[in-house]
């Protein structure tokens, strides 16, 4: 070896194919005697290729309307702001209607309710799981529902959300106060996930309107229906889409 000492920077540049050919040949020769180093660099190269392959499809995805508009000149931005305001007003109106139609009044502003906090924690913990998102899979749905009903001491059901494009993955039992709680997980076509968190709410047999909360990037609609409190969470979809699923869930649970 007659060249300069080989640095980690040289090895990185070798991985990225950014070395002049002479230097590259020197590194090749150096690596020939060092199988461990060669394997390490080969893994780096492999990961770069995997990264490009993994995210390549994003380049071809159609732009969502908001982004397509953002690329246009500024006047379009004002228009879009106006649209956003209009959507917000529409959302507020919807919320208000639900409120009235379902009945009870929401309590005055309070700290984040415990059901929301617990639902968000459970969602954030399990929804990104790749290999073990649920304890019991949807293929054993009857067993799952019977088991959770028994442990929660209430008649639990997993709503069918196929009508809004979400399939049951399965569910799990979770610790809670005062008793165990449960989580069902659903997945939509683009890989988006929502979780339905349930707990018994024995203190008061009542119904409440949908309420909405956001903790970090997790959006939650929650409500109480007779013996059970529900919280529907997602970090993958917006408030309007989540509301649609909440409505479908409520309809399924109250046929």
């Amino acid at each position: 070896m007659n060249g300069l000492p080989i640095t980690e920077g040289d090895l990185q540049a070798w991985v990225d194919g950014r070395l002049p050919s002479g230097r590259r040949a020197e590194i090749d020769a150096w690596l020939a005697d060092r199988p461990e180093e060669a394997a390490r660099l080969a893994a780096y190269r492999e990961h770069s290729a995997q990264l490009r392959a993994l995210y390549a499809p994003v380049l071809k995805e159609p732009l969502p309307p908001g982004l397509a508009a953002a690329g246009r000149p500024r006047r379009a931005l004002y228009l879009r702001a106006a649209v956003a305001v209009a959507l917000f007003a529409l959302g507020a109106g919807l919320g208000w209607q639900l409120h009235v139609s379902v009945g009870a009044r929401a309590p005055a502003q309070e700290a984040v309710p415990r059901i929301v906090r617990n639902a968000v924690i459970a969602h954030a913990t399990y929804s990104p799981e790749v290999r073990h998102p649920v304890e019991v899979g949807a293929d054993q749905e009857q067993h799952l529902v019977a088991w959770l009903s028994k442990r929660l001491g209430a008649n639990v059901r997993a709503p069918n959300l196929e009508s809004v494009g979400y399939s049951l993955i399965g569910g799990r039992l979770l610790p809670g106060e005062p008793g165990p709680t449960a989580q069902f997980m659903y997945q939509g076509k683009p890989g988006t996930r929502v979780t339905l968190y349930l707990r018994t709410d024995a203190t008061d047999n009542r119904e409440t309107a949908f309420r909405y909360a956001q903790e970090g990037n997790v959006r939650v609609f929650y409500w109480v229906d007779r013996k059970l409190g529900y919280a529907l969470s997602s970090s993958d979809i917006g408030k309007e889409d989540l509301l649609k699923i909440a409505n479908a869930t409520y309809a399924q649970l109250n046929p």
């Binding site: 990225d16 993994l54 995210y55 908001g66 982004l67 929804s127």
Partner: protein, 166 residues
């Protein structure tokens, strides 16, 4: 071609990068949208003849850091992993999901460098100027990012091993 059209042409690449940086789709598109708004508002500050793509990525990094700060996730900036949600792409297989998850566990500053170099295929000089850091820092972050990613993909405790490797 005017700058606004050139920016529009770069949107897919901004989305791809944001998806890898942020992890989940909605957050990534929010980031792209905020980036585009700021870029269009500050277009008069862009110096003609300089790299428009690098300029946009610089803006995106600033917007992203501001978003994180707004969410009080400052720990991520100080080199702590973020534990991102990891469903960035459609129908990703288990191996791809492992890669997404490992990527999400890299500290932000390492993830930025790795993605600029490996995904965006920037030269080290471009990455350095995009991030406003010396090229030596790019190299050391790149090296740490790759090794941590490798250990994560092999299922080894990366944080523990890194000190020894370093």
């Amino acid at each position: 071609m005017d700058e606004a059209s050139r920016i529009a042409e770069l949107i897919p690449r901004l989305r791809r990068y944001a998806r890898a940086l942020v992890g989940e789709r909605m957050g990534a598109d929010d980031l792209v949208q905020d980036t585009l708004e700021r870029a269009l508002n500050k277009l008069h500050l862009w110096r003609r003849g300089t790299d428009l793509r690098a300029w946009l990525f610089t803006i995106m990094h600033n917007v992203h850091v501001n978003q994180l700060r707004a969410r009080r996730e400052l720990s991520a900036l100080e080199g702590e992993a973020m534990g991102l949600p990891v469903r960035a792409t459609q129908e990703a297989g288990i191996e791809a999901r492992d890669l997404e998850r490992a990527l999400g566990q890299l500290p932000l500053e390492q993830r930025q460098v790795l993605l600029l170099v490996a995904l965006e295929e920037m030269s080290y000089e471009q990455a350095a100027s995009t991030l406003g850091i010396p090229i030596g820092t790019v190299m050391s972050r790149l090296s740490r990012a790759r090794e941590k990613l490798r250990l994560l993909m092999e299922g080894l405790p990366a944080s523990g091993r890194l000190h020894i490797v370093k």
